[in-house]
């Protein structure tokens, strides 16, 4: 049924053919992969780019005067250009890191320790992934900043009244908040949040780990100060991620790690730092992975975010509607603007059992607190199952999930 429903210009079968893993069988069943929000599968073009780099153009970057090193450096820096264009930033504002987590820790440890005073406050929301909570707790414990939590509404949106409240004493210097919740699917109104923070003399850091996969992001239009994402969720390689920072902020920040590449000059007595972005890329970078991320960006660009967003919208609507027809299934989050993740509970059945029993039918979902333990507690649940969607997800796969959930209920005699 699904193929016919898909709009012209989004040929789901052709897209699926780009992902070799989708033809795998699991426990003798067709794989139904609904765990893309944890990490997405890789299209052939990304894999091929990595292989081609290692087979024909590999050497360490920047330091070499020979052909392979020059070519590999060109490819690595071209990937930086692609990321810059992807976010509408300048290339000097793009720092390659391992993942979203490292990007946020980098900001906490460099910007946090240099630009924030112990009396300053940082605000995060109730729906943050651990990656955007724990680094600030560590900064609080090391450096003495005040860490504040802004509430979300029961629908799962940022509570602007509460935001006013946490900002009232004028001590907030940074709002660090997700662009899209990995549990509730909520898209936060980032341009409005940025304006809100800036009016009150605070900077804004956006955790784009989920958002960047589903929507075009323009850091200039948002007026983001920092923006962070992971390559592995964007159909790119593991081991590579991106921190965007406004150049003036980066320029004033001390380095995060010391070593090769990030220095201008070193003596036994002292060292001087290179300019951004190199100041923040110590040692041999994840070369092949950065180049692979460039290929992933080319891939999503070739589909286009209009098509990707529309596809995601269709899948999410279909999932919410379908799950609503199953007695005992409760979906979480009712945000106005939501993306392609649907967390849910089954009455009387633990999410772990749901995930294992779905797995036996070839259906991969995640279960647990999704690295957002305080949010799960806030929602009053122990753990949830979560289905999440990628460009290769079909409406049929959502129907398969529904059938699978009914089978789970049967096993539990419900």
């Amino acid at each position: 049924m699904s193929a016919a429903v898909h709009q012209v210009g989004f040929d789901i079968e052709r897209i699926r053919a780009d992902f070799p893993i989708l033809t795998e069988r699991v426990h003798g069943k067709k794989l139904v992969f609904l765990d893309s929000a944890a990490s997405a599968q890789k299209p052939r073009s990304v894999i091929d780019t990595m292989v081609r780099t290692m087979e024909t153009r590999y050497a360490n970057v920047h330091r070499g005067l020979h052909w392979l090193s020059e070519r590999c450096s060109d490819d690595y820096e071209a990937a930086r250009d692609k990321v810059a264009a992807f976010l509408n930033a300048a290339r000097e504002e793009i720092i390659f890191v391992r993942n979203t987590t490292e990007g946020i820790n980098l900001v906490a440890q460099t910007y946090g320790r240099s630009a924030l005073k112990p009396s300053d406050a940082v605000v995060v929301s109730e729906m943050e992934h651990h990656a955007n909570l724990v680094p600030w707790q560590m900064l609080r414990d090391q450096h003495g900043i005040d860490l504040r939590i802004v509430k979300i509404t029961d629908a799962g949106d940022v509570d602007f009244d509460d935001l006013e409240r946490v900002f009232t004493d004028g001590r907030v210097r940074l709002l660090a908040i997700t662009h899209m919740s990995n549990v509730l699917g909520t898209y936060t109104p980032v341009a409005r949040l940025a304006a809100f923070a800036h009016e009150r003399g605070a900077k804004i850091l956006l955790d784009g780990a989920q958002a960047v996969v589903h929507r075009a992001v323009d850091v200039k239009a948002i007026d983001a100060d920092f923006y962070v994402f992971s390559g592995h969720k964007l159909y790119g390689p593991s081991g590579i991620g991106v921190l965007f920072g406004k150049y003036a902020l980066l320029e004033a920040m001390p380095p995060f790690m010391g070593g090769g590449e990030m220095i201008r000059s070193v003596s036994f007595a002292t060292s001087t730092w290179a300019d951004p972005p190199f100041r923040f890329e110590a040692g041999t970078p994840a070369i092949v992975e950065a180049i692979g991320l460039g290929a992933a960006i080319d891939y999503v660009d070739s589909i286009g975010f209009d098509a990707i967003s529309a596809h995601e919208r269709r899948l999410t609507d279909h999932a919410l509607a379908t799950l609503a027809t199953i007695d005992g299934v409760t979906t979480l989050g009712r945000a106005q603007d939501r993306g392609g993740v649907v967390a849910f509970t089954l009455e009387g059945i633990h999410a772990h059992d749901v995930a294992t029993l779905l797995d036996k039918q070839g259906i991969a979902v995640r279960a647990g607190h999704h690295c957002a333990e305080p949010l799960t507690r806030r929602l009053g649940v122990e753990s949830t199952a979560r289905a999440s969607f990628g460009v290769y997800t079909t409406l049929d796969e959502i129907d398969a999930l529904a059938v699978g959930l009914r089978r789970v209920q049967q096993v539990f005699g419900r």
């Binding site: 772990h352 294992t356 036996k360 279960a367």
Partner: protein
């Protein structure tokens, strides 16, 4: 499709115990107690036991968790009753080894614990099955401390 086959994890024995555990509850008078929890998924097992003649006479558990965890706690109750503390550690070792290897040990006192051998195939679920045993070991350890202290 038949999900609940015999070599399967969610066989009727496990589902029966998960739905209607025999040892669930809270002893008011007890000789030892301990709690095990797994913050990664929120599973929690609270074990209390009473001794009779140096052996475990009654074991009750309050378990909040998945079907594997509840049935593991309940089947542990069957196997633990009538055992001395030293025997418990030996039994727990054998159970944990079965979960890791999938091989059912050749011992009579294992009773229905063998039903959980299928957990072996799901490494991320091992903790669900072994958590009750961790709590029981802790409960026994605490009694012993009390006795020595």
């Amino acid at each position: 499709m038949n999900i609940a086959t015999t070599e399967d994890l969610y066989q009727s024995l496990i589902m029966d115990r998960a739905r209607s555990p025999r040892h669930a509850g809270r002893l008011d008078e007890f000789d030892a107690e301990a709690e095990g929890d797994n913050p990664m998924c929120g599973d929690r097992v609270h074990v209390r036991l009473r001794r009779e003649g140096g052996k475990i006479g009654i074991l009750c558990h309050e378990t909040r968790g998945c079907a594997i965890c509840i049935s593991a706690a309940d089947l542990m109750g069957d196997a633990a009753i009538g055992k001395a503390d030293t025997e418990i550690h030996d039994l727990a070792d054998a159970f944990e080894a079965m979960i890791v290897t999938g091989v059912i040990p050749d011992r009579l006192d294992f009773l229905d614990l063998r039903a959980l051998a299928g957990v072996h195939a799901y490494r991320s679920r091992h903790r669900c099955a072994t958590l009750p045993w961790q709590a029981l070991r802790a409960a026994i350890g605490k009694t012993m401390e009390l006795r020595h202290g």
